[in-house]
């Protein structure tokens, strides 16, 4: 079987203690929450941290607080199963519950956390491979080292080793594969980042960057502790996921839509965010603008949906053909908009 490389394991009891440890270890440490993505990747030597700092023992890092009218606070260690099945949360934000409920399999959702899913490493089928496989293609930019050489996620970049997806370029094209991030961005959620230096709150949208290696703005010394959701206040949300099978698979396209309509059906607010097509959740502002102030009709929705076709530029590094994924973007956007407006 694939074996885990050796590592030190720490289980602090508070976020402050965890932040202190992170500061002490520096970039050689890695946070682990549910571990459903970290451990398989360590077995494949995609990264080999000296120390893992587990968030599992921090009791105050789990739970869902708030209400429909006040908004919700999701502690980052809350499992995806809890997010998917929380009764008032799923009533307020059905799209978020849906997204959390289609991550991988029931068993992994019982382990995996909402914070972990938001910080999920980007994926690429040149990168998510065993050590032997990656050695066979002479490595890639995102995991450039051989076994035994320490390398970390989202920090290292070896300019001499190209991205295998687009070898001519100077960036990594690994794909944002989190189901919940597009919904959080669409909902205008805020995330709380805690480090030994203090705390900052940023919009979920600003958590992500267009880079397969440095895919989050969260610094390695920061811990994502909470997600703040605004009051639902009439926002309707949904999430549609393209994947080969009804379980297990990461999204190769995820469409999150959040919108508000006036009494007369006029759309007053709209967010359309796509996952699985780039290194970050992509918001389609042009499409949103075309809808705001309009009453939805089938023709309008089809027209708007078509505008995502051009900018949706998936690469050949996930399941399905590239062109197919590109072609599905407008179809899924249309279906999501129809679901919310009809």
């Amino acid at each position: 079987m694939l074996r885990l490389p050796p590592f030190e394991y720490y289980a602090p009891k508070s976020a402050a203690q965890a932040a202190k440890m992170l500061a002490e270890f520096g970039p050689e440490a890695l946070l682990v929450a549910g571990g459903t993505d970290v451990y398989p990747k360590m077995k494949r030597y995609q990264f080999q941290p000296k120390a893992l700092i587990s968030l599992k023992q921090i009791k105050r890092l789990s739970g869902i607080l708030g209400s429909n009218s006040k908004g919700f606070v999701l502690k980052s260690g809350t499992t995806l199963t809890e997010v998917a099945s929380h009764s008032s949360l799923s009533k307020a934000y059905p799209g978020l519950a849906k997204a959390a409920g289609v991550v991988s399999t029931p068993i992994l959702r019982n382990m995996g956390t909402i914070g972990g899913n938001l910080c999920l490493d980007t994926r690429c089928n040149y990168y998510d491979q065993t050590h032997h496989w990656r050695k066979s293609i002479s490595w890639c930019m995102k995991a450039p080292g051989a076994k035994g050489v320490l390398f970390k996620p989202s920090a290292t970049r070896d300019e001499s080793i190209p991205c295998r997806v687009a070898p001519g370029g100077d960036r990594c094209w690994a794909v944002s594969s989190t189901d919940t991030a597009p919904v959080m961005v669409a909902l205008g959620a805020q995330v709380v980042l805690v480090s030994a230096k203090g705390e900052r709150v940023i919009p979920a949208k600003q958590l992500y960057c267009d880079d397969g290696i440095r895919y989050v703005t969260k610094r390695p010394d920061e811990i994502l502790t909470e997600i703040h959701l605004p009051p639902a206040d009439g926002i309707k949300t949904t999430y549609l996921k393209l994947r080969r099978r009804g379980s297990f698979d990461f999204p190769v396209l995820g469409v999150a839509v959040a919108l508000k309509q006036a009494e007369d059906k006029t759309i007053t607010d709209c967010k359309i965010v796509l996952g699985g097509i780039a290194s970050y959740p992509v918001e389609f502002e042009q499409a949103e603008k075309m809808l705001i102030g309009q009453k939805p009709t089938l023709e309008l929705i089809e027209h708007v949906a078509q505008t995502v076709f051009g900018p949706a530029r998936p690469m050949d590094n996930t399941d399905y053909q590239i062109y197919y994924r590109k072609r599905m973007a407008p179809v899924y956007v249309k279906r999501a908009l129809l679901e919310l407006t009809s």
């Binding site: 496989w133 099978r245 399941d319 062109y323």
Partner: protein, 800 residues
């Protein structure tokens, strides 16, 4: 024969090993550990095709915890499953032929150490261009993947056979239909990765435990490569966690750990990782096919010409047989008056292909049944009626000399069409929904052994002791298909006991008599017949002893419900245990044997060894699909499958095999693909997550219909069910997609992008078809002309 007459045969009793498996207590190969055992890891090639210039193991040898580092130089003898293609080295030392080809083995105190030491082995390679496609392999004879093997250049095998006058038949046709098809390669994906443990003892005897379907052939390969007598080697196959053909070959890792154990004097264990299982492969060959068939206006076939091009990967494996199988069984479902087959298998720099459920026949079956669907439409004949019009007869010989005995295909077709309301639904379910139909047939065991010999293919020993305990010994290996239950049920039926009372000793070359292995759907029929003979012989002994005591003629004695009794007067009886004691008192040790040798093959031409079987199972399938024209998604709503089983030994197991076959077929037709990045010469997705195989969420309801017409050559009339039911499912789904959307996908898997591409072509007014448009020009030799059997000719005359 009605099932009611039996006490256990045909009953849906639980598997004898079911509880242990369901509760996780079954000990698979990886569960076995020995004191002082070492762990082995293999260093595998990172290149698809390269010469090995040197291997330096010195650093690895010095690594703390390493006991031995092994390279192939010390085991230069070539091996392989087929005598005609001994083209593998236990560890490659001259060249590597695919990414994942094993080049060195390390034995160390633990797995991590062995893995780290592998990294310290320095191999210098001279990289050669990789041959990655069928076309390249046919067109480029250089660089040669095998210098010393195959049929020249990069051809692994090339054959051409003609039975009767094909050209004449095509000229007499009213419609000549020509099609090309491609069947993508896929793999077995057993839940259990291959695992093995070798222990070389101080007395010079070697024992190997391995998750294999063929302990006997592994035994032979070990003796050959290690150059020690077979009498000093013992191979044990513990219960195997799924095979499907993926554990039919002797493998590098088995030989390497045996050698490492000999070198260290310690047991050595290996368990492959999932990506290594993808590299071990031996799965479904990708096959490019071309078929041309002549039909009369009324739907009767006049002649058929079939060509297949198989992508064999880096080694021969079962490829010679696979090649013939792509051409052999076309004729066992429909009468083909004249038939020509040309087949070529090529070497490519990919993991070797071999046998997977249906071995070499799902590909041509897909082609044939879709081809017939197209013809049915052109001729305005219902697809069901087209099959019935060409139906083979029971007790007949085919044009290519295959002996058909029982044939329940007519009942399969009629019942599956009725149950699914196929004729009512076809073309009438509305856009996006459709039904499709297909048939198939499979062998109940290969008529010939893999290496030429005249001995039995399966033997069973039965021992009864003075406590009445019955033990059956058989070389068969239960790979999950239920062969243990079949053995126990047959013995129990004959001796009047329950299956869970029969002790089983299986798959141990020291303790059990020969069985060739769990492949070619041979076990129920061959082991079953041997078990019937052995149990009947034991029954005779017990009856004779009881007859004297009960003072009843021996032919009136029967065994049932733990009793030995007078059939005419059942009150006159004794317990089974008492009969056992009486028999031992009278005859001494109680042992009985049985064996089975298949009938001689009817044909004598070169190539006639592949295809003959004691009997053929038949299946027919209707698939109902719901397609989304906007996304190209194909959802299978329901499968109806009728299977001619002859007689169930255990009905629950039979239905389980049907459902498992349907599941596997759906994976092959809709999503599974051995995809390679050809430029890099590497498997694209060697993992359980990324190699897409259906989940329970994709599995539709299956309605199984069993046709029970006893087969005279089968034990209690039984035929196979492990492989045959897979065959018609694939074309049935493909034909259903056509019924739903009016597009032809002549290439599987039917992925959503192909469906959309075909719909685009339709919208543009072009031919709504996705699939290969041409075949490469293979250097087929002039066909070997074979005269069809006399008997066949007269039969054909009577039907015309």
């Amino acid at each position: 024969m009605a099932t009611e007459n039996y006490s256990v045969i045909g009953k849906p009793l639980p598997k004898v090993d079911g509880i242990a498996k369901a509760t996780g207590q079954t000990k698979y190969a990886d569960d076995i550990n020995l004191p002082r055992q070492l762990y082995c890891k293999l260093l595998r090639s990172p290149h698809a095709h390269a010469k090995i210039l040197s291997i330096d193991t010195s650093k690895a040898e010095k690594f703390p915890g390493v006991r031995v580092v092994l390279t192939g130089h010390v085991m230069p003898t070539e091996f392989g499953i087929m005598p005609s293609s001994q083209d593998e080295h236990a560890l490659s030392f001259e060249k590597v032929r695919y990414v994942g080809d094993p080049v060195a083995a390390v034995a160390a105190v633990d797995e991590e150490t062995a893995e780290r030491a592998c990294e310290l082995i320095e191999v210098k390679y001279e990289i050669l261009p990789a041959i990655m496609t069928i076309e390249d392999a046919i067109n480029k004879s250089e660089p040669r993947i095998h210098e010393k093997h195959g049929s020249g250049g990069n051809l692994s095998k090339i054959v051409a056979l003609e039975f009767g006058e094909v050209e004449k038949g095509l000229q007499e046709a009213d419609l000549v239909q020509e099609d090309t098809f491609f069947f993508q390669g896929n793999t077995h994906l057993p839940m259990e990765q291959h695992a093995a443990l070798a222990s070389y003892e101080p007395d010079g005897k070697l024992t190997l435990w391995s998750s294999t379907q063929t302990p006997h052939y592994v035994h032979r390969a070990l003796a050959k490569v290690l150059q020690i007598p077979e009498s000093r080697i013992r191979v044990i196959a513990p219960p195997t966690g799924g095979g499907f053909g993926g554990k039919d070959d002797p493998f590098s890792h088995e030989i390497a750990i045996a050698k490492l154990s000999m070198m260290t004097g310690r047991p050595v264990k290996i368990t492959l990782t999932r990506d290594e299982v993808f590299y071990a492969h031996r799965g479904r060959h990708p096959v490019l096919m071309w078929v041309k068939t002549g039909f009369k206006r009324d739907g009767r076939i006049t002649a058929m010409h079939f060509k297949s091009h198989l992508d064999g990967g880096a080694h021969g494996s079962y490829g010679v047989a696979s090649t013939y199988y792509t051409g052999a069984l076309q004729t066992v479902t429909c009468k083909v008056p004249a038939y020509k087959f040309e087949g070529v298998r090529v070497f490519t720099n990919k993991p070797p292909c071999g046998p997977k459920r249906g071995h070499g026949t799902p590909q041509p079956r897909f082609a044939l049944e879709v081809h017939f669907d197209k013809v049915a439409e052109k001729l305005g004949i219902d697809p069901v009626d087209l099959r019935l019009r060409n139906l083979v007869d029971p007790d007949s010989l085919t044009v290519n000399w295959l002996r058909i005995t029982s044939c329940g295909l007519r009942e399969c077709i009629e019942k599956v069409a009725d149950a699914s309301e196929f004729k009512k639904k076809r073309g009438k379910l509305g856009y996006g929904k459709g039904v499709g139909f297909g048939v198939g047939s499979y062998i109940c065991g290969a008529g010939l052994p893999i290496y030429w010999n005249d001995m039995p293919h399966s033997e069973v020993h039965i021992k009864v002791d003075r406590t009445g305990r019955v033990t059956a010994f058989s070389g068969t290996i239960d790979i999950g298909q239920g062969s243990n239950t079949v053995l126990a049920t047959i013995v129990a039926e004959i001796l009047g006991l329950m299956p869970d009372e029969i002790q089983l000793v299986t798959a141990d070359t020291d303790l059990t008599p020969i069985d060739l292995g769990s492949y070619s759907s041979r076990v129920t029929l061959m082991m079953g017949n041997a078990a019937v003979e052995a149990a009947t012989n034991m029954k005779k002994i017990l009856c004779e002893a009881a007859s004297m005591k009960l003072e009843v003629p021996v032919d009136r004695i029967e065994l049932r419900d733990h009793k030995v009794f007078d059939k005419a007067n059942p009150a006159k009886s004794m317990a089974f245990e008492e009969a056992a004691r009486l028999a031992e008192s009278k005859f001494g040790a109680l042992a009985a044997v049985g064996s089975y040798t298949p009938p001689k093959k009817p044909g004598t031409y070169k190539g006639s060894g592949v295809g003959p079987s004691p009997a053929y199972s038949y299946s027919a399938c209707v698939a109902q699909v719901d397609c989304d024209p906007e996304t190209g998604d194909v959802k299978v709503e329901k499968i109806w499958l009728a299977h001619d089983i002859g007689q169930c030994i255990n009905e629950m197991l039979v239905i389980g095999q049907v459902e498992g076959s349907v599941y596997m077929a759906l994976g092959e037709v809709l999503m599974e693909e051995m995809e390679y990045r050809n430029r890099m010469g590497i498997h694209k997705i060697p993992s359980l997550l990324d190699y897409k195989s259906p989940t329970t969420k994709e599995m539709p309801p299956v309605e199984t219909i069993l046709i029970k017409n006893a087969e005279s050559r089968g034990p209690f009339g039984a035929k196979e069910v492990g492989q045959g039911p897979l065959l018609p499912v694939i074309p049935a789904v493909v034909n259903a997609v056509y019924d739903a959307l009016g597009v032809r996908i002549d290439e599987i898997p039917i992925t959503p992008d192909k469906v959309l591409k075909a719909l685009d072509l339709k919208a543009q007014g072009k031919e709504p078809r996705v699939g290969p448009t041409s075949i490469p020009k293979a250097p087929f030799p002039p066909a070997l002309k074979v005269e069809p059997p006399e008997e066949w000719k007269s039969q054909l005359m009577s039907t015309l």
